[in-house]
């Protein structure tokens, strides 16, 4: 136990917590949106994230031919390159997500079978993807060339905010805002919300169910891909099972905020990210997962619909 660290390191921990929390927010959207429409845990989302991190590496290293030794990029060229890489990893993850839906869920859904069958089929898909990548990479961690020279962007009250942390916080918040607007304002967003309220009724209202579900997976995948890109800008290394712990934490965040609830995922992710930083500062990093899950159990005991309620889904205790 080391409480003084919280007082000394309050602001740096806050900034880190925000960055980690926002990455959780983006990944948890992949869980929460799919759960909203299908009522199923999207087990392969951690693999979709992993595909995104590898897409970032491949595009940076093999398509743009950057190596770690290249000269630093500046100005417009840097922004344009980063944007292209971001879009590429979003596309990779998005396509993977749509394929996962086709392979793991569609046939089982049309048969109307038990939910556990879909779960196992999703687990199978997840094993397939991660094992495929493991064999291709020979289980070795893969580094990505550094594009963003890491310098301290601003210093507020003695706290340095690095450029990559800043990038994560700003772009993740922006992406979340865009998804939220999309789901609340557009016709497709309306259809997604309709399906998550009642599949039957929305079918009667002329909603093309398969299209909406594919679109949900696509959006979830795109956002998860963006999260993967941001993650790679900070941590710069990936491995075939990189998604496991992050996926677990992101799912916890989704449940914390009330699964199926998009804004809930935002608050849940931030809460989890901040809590994780402070808790591991106090009692040591190795207990991080334990504290996270203990909080989850406590929250579910006293507020079984998550901290912020299940806005979309009917709740039952």
């Amino acid at each position: 136990m080391n409480f003084s660290v919280v007082v000394n390191q309050f602001w740096p921990l806050l900034i880190n917590g925000l960055a980690v929390g926002l990455i959780y927010v983006l990944i948890s959207l992949g869980y929460t949106m799919v759960y909203g429409v299908l009522r199923l845990i999207n087990f392969a989302n951690s693999e979709i994230f992993m595909v995104g991190t590898f897409a970032t590496v491949i595009v940076t290293r093999d398509i743009f031919k950057y190596t770690s030794a290249h000269e630093a990029l500046h100005g417009f060229k840097l922004v344009a390159t980063l944007l292209l890489i971001l879009i590429a990893s979003m596309l990779f993850s998005g396509v993977t997500a749509v394929l996962v839906e086709l392979v793991a869920y569609r046939r089982l859904r049309s048969k109307g079978t038990n939910r556990l069958a879909s779960l196992i089929s999703a687990i199978g898909t997840s094993i397939m993807i991660s094992e495929g990548v493991r064999i291709l990479t020979k289980s070795a961690p893969v580094p990505t060339p550094r594009l963003l020279t890491k310098f301290n962007l601003i210093s507020i009250g003695g706290v340095d905010i690095r450029i990559d942390t800043f990038l994560v916080i700003v772009s993740a918040a922006l992406i979340f805002f865009m998804v939220d607007r999309f789901v609340t304002k557009t016709l497709l967003g309306k259809a997604i919300r309709a399906v998550s309220m009642s599949e039957e009724t929305s079918k009667l209202m002329g909603v093309n169910l398969n299209r909406v579900i594919s679109a949900t997976f696509l959006i979830g995948g795109l956002v998860t891909g963006a999260a993967a890109f941001l993650y790679m800008q900070v941590y710069e290394t990936t491995v075939f099972n990189v998604g496991f712990n992050l996926g677990l934490a992101a799912f916890t965040a989704a449940v914390l905020g009330g699964i199926g609830n998009i804004r809930g995922a935002f608050y849940g992710g931030l809460t989890l990210g901040l809590f994780e930083q402070y808790a591991s500062a106090i009692i040591g990093g190795q207990w991080k997962a334990v504290t996270v899950f203990s909080v989850l159990v406590l929250v579910l005991l006293f507020k079984p619909n998550g901290l912020f309620g299940e806005a979309i889904q009917q709740s039952r205790v």
């Binding site: 392979v103 199978g124 094992e131 493991r134 203990s294 159990v297 079984p304």
Partner: protein, 344 residues
């Protein structure tokens, strides 16, 4: 597709008692002789290329079947999705490790203690969490499984990441030796435990707890309205499943003579759950088949060693898509009864 389970059940219903007894004895006898299957030329196809065949029969095959039967009580019978079943396996294993190295108790004396410890953990976890809705239960149990592993990983007194080495093997019992050279004896122990669990499940199924579990699985609200104390029966189901996992853990620890946190990862929970769903949730024979196949096949196809998990993933997806209720689905009791009535 043909429901093999129903066909088998119909055949069984048609037999009289002596026929049934004879069938069961022959079946048990054949299974008991399985460890010798690798010794003859015409059955040597059973042999696994890398690990010893007898060892494979104990772990993973026997252990997986045992644990899948235990998990089937929770997932298949009462419909509670438990993604952290490995926790109970770990608790059993660590109980055997701690008591075996620090006290003079032998494996048979530790076995009930390990089961009690796992059961206690099941009640402790179950009482607060079984009030939750299905998917939340899944994530909480998943978290519990990880917590148990992380606690083991970070506690110096139980060896942290190196685990507990040199756990004693069971003593010589009824003239049967237990050590690393005698995998067959372990296989028989596991087989007897599996038989006991099968017997227990069969008893439960036709009695009040079994009916309560069935009601909870089919419709919780209706079960509450009919006066089923659902929390009590859920906790029972959970802790009985846990006890089976704990028993498997004790035997596992005394067989490998060594436990470490990295043996009890989330993957094990997923594998056991896959055995249950793959074989046919809720149906004991399906679960046994699922356990045997999913434990044995990866060992048998070790020659493609690097890709065997990949093949496993593909197989899971394929089978679930082709037979969503598992290889041998749950018995359609209503249907059989109706057919019988129509025939009379």
């Amino acid at each position: 597709m043909v429901n093999l389970r129903d066909k088998g059940a119909a055949l069984w219903e048609g037999w009289n008692r002596p026929k049934r007894v004879a069938f069961v004895i022959i079946l048990i006898g054949l299974v008991g002789l399985l460890p010798y299957g690798g010794d003859f030329s015409f059955t040597s196809i059973l042999n696994t290329p890398i690990s010893s065949y007898q060892a494979v029969l104990v772990y993973p095959v026997g252990m997986y079947v045992l644990m899948a039967l235990g998990l089937n009580i929770v997932v298949g019978k009462s419909g509670l999705l438990d993604l952290g079943y490995v926790a109970f396996f770990a608790i059993g294993g660590y109980t055997a490790g701690i008591l075996g190295t620090k006290t003079h108790l032998n494996t048979w004396e530790i076995l009930p203690i390990g089961m009690a410890a796992a059961m206690f953990a099941g009640v402790l976890l179950g009482l607060p969490t079984l009030r939750l809705r299905g998917d939340y239960l899944a994530i909480v149990t998943l978290g519990f499984g990880e917590i148990v592993r992380i606690v083991a990983l970070n506690t110096q007194s139980i060896g942290a990441s190196t685990g507990i080495p040199s756990i004693p093997t069971p003593p010589r019992t009824f003239g049967i030796k237990f050590d690393i050279m005698h995998n067959t004896s372990y296989f028989w122990v596991v087989m007897i435990m599996i038989l006991l669990v099968i017997w227990m499940i069969r008893r439960f199924t036709v009695r009040r707890p079994g009916r309560a579990w069935e009601a909870i699985r089919q419709d919780e609200d209706v079960a509450i309205l009919m006066g089923v104390p659902i929390l009590r029966y859920k906790v029972w189901s959970f802790s009985i499943g846990a006890a089976v996992g704990g028993a498997a853990g004790v035997i596992f620890a005394s067989k490998t003579q060594y436990v470490a946190p990295n043996m009890f990862t989330f993957n094990v929970s997923v594998l056991i759950l896959s055995c249950v769903v793959f074989g046919g949730m809720g149906n004991m024979w399906g679960v046994i088949l699922g356990g045997v196949l999913l434990a044995y096949l990866p060992e048998r196809i070790r020659f493609i060693s690097n890709a065997r998990q990949l093949v496993f993933g593909i197989a899971l997806v394929l089978i679930m898509n082709l037979r969503p209720d598992g290889l041998l689905p749950r018995k359609k009791r209503e249907k059989l009864g109706a057919a019988k009535k129509a025939g009379e």
